[in-house]
Amino acid sequence: MVKCGQRLPQGFEDLGPDRRERVEALGTELATLFASWGYRRVEPPAIENYETFAAGSPSFSADRAYRFLDRDGRLLALRPDITTGVGRMIAQALREDSRAVSLPLRLRYEGIVFRREPQGSARSHAFEQAGVELIGVAGPDADAEVIGLASAAAHLAGLPEVRLLIGHSGLVKGAMQAAGRGSPDVEEQFRAALARRDLVAVSAMIGSDLASVLTGGPFDPVAGREALNRLAGAAEAQIASGARELLALYDLLDEYATPEPWLEPVLLRDLDYYSGVVFELLSPAFPEPLAGGGRYDGLLGKFGAGAPATGFAVNLTATSQAGPGQVLRPRQRVALAWADAAARGQALRIAHRLREQGSVAETLPEAANLTEALAAAASRPVDRLLFVSESGYREIRVCGDQPAGQAGLAGVAGIH
């Protein structure tokens, strides 16, 4: 019987050095990319009042947030997303002194989010996200900028045939109203059917004209424009205005260097706060979106100071494992061993110099002689072994299992 303290709870996993280095490598590339577009890092806390998340995304938070009580019995939550925290943070700053905040704000973040999954799901309940928020600008240019940046981010994952899917929450809300015909219960049933991607139920609840557009997607760039032109004349006001906004955006995307847009009218993101254009970037080589996001003009208003906003996030933990991956900047990796105590000082001085020059220098104090040092070096992610004795040193190329530059495992078998 393995004691409780010796194992992980369901839904959580360890990342060994191989996987963690891939997360870090992609995270570093994304941070550099986001910063080069003028996005500055912020850090809302990992724990907030549950009410904060519930205000932004009521049904998502109720289903997915990890909740617990503080000492005084107040209900807190581990953040199930970071955008809500950023929105709360900026609304607070605007409330305190709106003149001190110069909109638009370009902000980026990176951190772990926690989401409960249904029982029996093999999905991880915690993963690292990197994303951006563009706060204070409405209109298609801001949407196109964020989609352009997300496209550049998705390309960093190194996967083939990245495709852009685009939708609008107005199309979904308009269809909900058309389905509900004034009954909030039926509207809710329709929303729930869409959320569980039950197109059979969705089609049964709306007229066949609307159903064929809503469930026939995604439409290629040409067919998508045609569908939007039709929807722009729809009787439901939210559908018509959503379609017109998407048409305006279509005209800009090419200049913002995104992949061609494929219209997915029922693109419904997990979180409830989306209020306009939504999008995802997909690759056939990976069963989850590489990046996704959209416009959420109502979120900051929930925290007392409204402002239009749009953004997206990348699931770093999953996406970094998907492609060939970004390898951390290849550096010379050297193992050092010494013949006896008299040579140790010299070996450590060499190690110090190598590290100053930007190499990775690892010492092998446990190796008593050259044979042991070679065996130890072969199992480590190093290119060379320096064996130091009083009379000088020998340099030996190491051809272990781990090719140079690839993150290997330092003697801990079975962790990846």
Binding site: P118, G120, R197, A201, L282, P284, P287
Partner: protein, 223 residues
């Protein structure tokens, strides 16, 4: 790239085979008996699975498409697209009790089932305070042996229930087989896949129309 399908073994296999064969899918009757988990044939890839595992394989992208019963999708929700009602494998998830018991639902104290989630939801919805007992096979025996005073189970023809002296007192779910898809695979589906799913839709519509026509004729003849 081959089109990959997770195919359920068991009661759904034959109707699925018949429907798929009519739309050009090269599945053959012997496939159910083969021991391989994965069968590749003429640009198709079949993943032979237990019915309740189909949605798991599709959710994780091991297969692009699959066939699963609606009741299984409701019992174990997964992130898959439910794209088409195939109209086959029709059955009901029903609450049944020994014949002759008082039918007042509030008197039910313990329900045996393979569908605890749907049973608990049903109990909450109807105000039942019954305990749910999870079983893995021949649920009817729990009621006939007195382990439980009602069961929730799939009913196709009702003959198993009758043989065990049970009668249906309520329907939880009207079920049929659904074509499900991995959300990313569904959104990236190629022209070949779209053409196949369109053939499948037409085939399902034709079958439904034929069945309705036969029923009408029967009604006319009977009248």
């Amino acid at each position: 790239m081959p089109i990959s399908l997770a195919v359920p073994r068991g009661r759904l296999f034959e109707p699925v085979l018949e429907l798929f064969a009519a739309t050009g899918v090269p599945l053959v009757p012997e496939d159910q008996e083969r021991r391989e988990l994965v069968i590749e044939r003429d640009g198709w890839r079949f993943l032979m699975a237990r019915p309740r595992d189909v949605s798991l394989f599709v959710e994780h992208g091991l297969a692009d498409f699959g066939v699963a019963g609606k009741e299984a999708l409701l019992e174990t929700p997964r992130d898959v697209v439910e794209s088409l009602d195939l109209g086959i494998g029709r059955c009901r998830l029903a609450l049944a009790r020994p014949d002759g018991e008082p039918t007042e639902l509030r008197r039910i104290r313990r329900i045996a089932t393979k569908y605890p989630r749907l049973t608990e939801e049903y109990a909450a919805r109807t105000g039942l305070t019954a305990q749910v007992l999870v079983m893995h096979g021949s649920v009817e025996s729990a009621a006939t042996l007195g382990l439980a005073d009602a069961i929730v189970d799939l009913v196709e023809t009702g003959s198993t229930l009758r043989a065990n002296g049970l009668v249906v007192v309520d329907i939880l779910v009207e079920s049929s087989a659904r074509l499900i898809a991995n959300p990313v695979a569904y959104r990236l589906r190629s022209r070949e896949v779209r053409e196949w799913t369109e053939r499948l839709r037409q085939q399902v519509d034709q079958t439904r129309a034929a069945v309705e026509l036969a029923q009408e004729r029967q009604a006319v003849d009977g009248g």
